[in-house]
């Protein structure tokens, strides 16, 4: 019995070793089979070709992406500069179009109710101020725009001047922004508008240079009914 017991142990050991060897061999064989070294030449060539194709496709993809990226980048820089240019234009046109209140140095011309002022005199004054370099003008808080109208009307009691259809009240204060000295001289020189007003019409306005003149925005902009922008501009 002791002898046959020894056999059992030996046999078990042999089987364990054998099993170990088997599994090791199986693993090794798997490794070797998937390793490139173990491949046949034709298979290697196939792998190479596949890889090469994939590589080429990726390179193409990369080139396409690169081109798209560069284009987007240029476009985005263009947009940034376009936004800046447009913003500059908008800010400049806002100042002159009358859509925003403006401030700056300039002059005020004040005409009191006792002066025999005619509506044509006001048209002359506005025209003279533009000619002298005014950058913005208002008459009694009416901003002068392309559409400002100055007219005369009368009711049962009196004759009066209207601006944009509103009755003009005295004192009439005309404000202009621009170089104060130039604006004043442009009105008051001998033979100039104010000189003629004083000597011929007995209108004696007060012209004052101002460090700051505030001019309001236009109250409304007429909507175009008849005018159109031609399509091919």
């Amino acid at each position: 019995m002791t002898r046959s017991k020894g056999w059992y142990i030996s046999l078990t050991l042999v089987f364990v070793v054998l099993g170990f060897l088997l599994s090791t061999q199986f693993q090794t064989q798997q490794k070797i089979l998937t390793a490139l070294d173990a491949q046949k030449k034709e298979d290697l060539i196939t792998v190479w070709k596949n890889l090469d194709d994939k590589n080429r496709a990726l390179q193409q993809e990369m080139e396409d992406l690169d081109a798209a990226y560069r284009q987007l980048l240029a476009q985005s820089q263009e947009e940034t500069s376009a936004v800046k240019t447009i913003s500059d234009d908008i800010n400049r046109l806002k100042l002159v179009s009358g859509v925003t209140p403006v401030t700056g140095p300039g002059i005020t011309v004040t005409i009191t109710g006792d002066a025999p002022l005619m509506f044509l005199d006001l048209i002359d004054l506005v025209n003279e101020l533009w000619a002298t370099g005014a950058e913005a003008i208002s008459i009694n808080e009416h901003r002068i725009t392309e559409h400002t109208t100055i007219a005369e009307e009368s009711d049962a009691f009196s004759y009066y001047i209207t601006i944009n259809g509103d009755k003009l009240l005295y004192p009439v204060v005309v404000k202009a922004i621009g170089d104060p000295h130039t604006l004043e001289k442009g009105l008051t020189f001998t033979g100039g508008l104010i000189d003629i007003w004083k000597t011929q019409f007995n209108i004696h306005p007060e012209v004052l240079q101002r460090e700051t003149v505030n001019i309001p925005a236009a109250r409304y902009f007429p909507i175009w009914v008849h005018a159109q922008i031609p399509a091919a501009q």
């Binding site: 046959s4 070294d37 890889l51 925003t100 401030t103 922008i229 501009q233």
Partner: protein
């Protein structure tokens, strides 16, 4: 019992044998392929290609991320379209677009015929100023046209904007500081009937008509008024802060 032992041993030997043979065969196969030098080259190429492919894939991934980033930024910049439409509106308001539409043309010309006759008849009292169109004639006519609802005005193709000045230097009329010569063609876009009515009852036209100047009003279905070509001086202008802008 003892009869089974040989059988077991035989089995073990057979399995061991198969195992050994299989090991030897595998090793031989591997060695014989590896020994081929062109295979070694191929393997090197494949290894390199694999590395390159991995690197490329990484770069592509990164590039795609960057493109996405720019695209997202562009969405935020939808403001560009808004700004463009605001600019378009302002350009319209400031005479910076060509305009077309129905309206009238007023033609004013110097009274050369009467001037010649007067000069011949009474050379001593002849005043040439009585027979020419003056800056004020044009200035007041523009106001008349505005009263008639003119949406755009031009004089001899000079667009009249808010700051256009009309004046004379000697006998030359300047509009937007450009010299103009008679006949003066004043165009206005708007309701032709309303415009005509206002001009007929205005400051300039009846006065000239009464003095036999060659003047006329032509109602037109479609006229063109050019864009303002001058500049805007804004050296002293600043937007006044703290006030809301008016609605249009």
């Amino acid at each position: 019992m003892s009869k089974r032992w040989p059988l077991t041993l035989t089995l073990i030997s057979i399995i061991s044998g198969i195992l050994l043979v299989s090991i030897i065969l595998t090793n031989q196969a591997a060695r014989s392929e590896a020994a081929d030098s062109s295979n070694a080259d191929l393997i090197e190429i494949i290894n390199r290609l694999e590395e390159e492919t991995l690197a490329l894939e990484e770069m592509i991934d990164e590039k795609r991320d960057r493109i996405d980033e720019i695209r997202e930024q562009q969405v935020e910049k939808g403001t560009l379209a808004t700004l463009q439409s605001e600019l378009e509106w302002l350009r319209r308001r400031t005479g910076l677009t060509q305009v077309t539409g129905p309206g009238i043309t007023v033609v004013l010309d110097d009274n050369e015929e009467l001037a010649a006759a007067a000069k011949a008849n009474a050379p001593l009292t002849f005043d040439p100023n009585s027979y020419i169109i003056h800056d004020k004639d044009l200035l007041y006519l523009v106001n008349d046209l505005r009263l008639g609802g003119a949406e755009a005005i031009s004089i001899n193709n000079q667009r009249i904007i808010s700051s256009s000045d009309i004046r004379c230097v000697g006998t030359v009329i300047l509009v937007n500081s450009m010299r103009l010569a008679p006949p003066y063609e004043i165009r206005a876009i708007g309701d032709p009937e309303k415009l005509t009515k206002q001009v007929l009852n205005g400051q300039t036209f009846p006065w000239l008509k009464d003095r036999s100047f060659p003047v006329e009003i032509i109602e037109e279905e479609s006229i063109q008024i050019p864009t303002y070509k001058g500049g805007f001086s804004t050296a002293h202008l600043q937007v006044m802060k703290g006030e809301t802008e008016p609605d249009d």
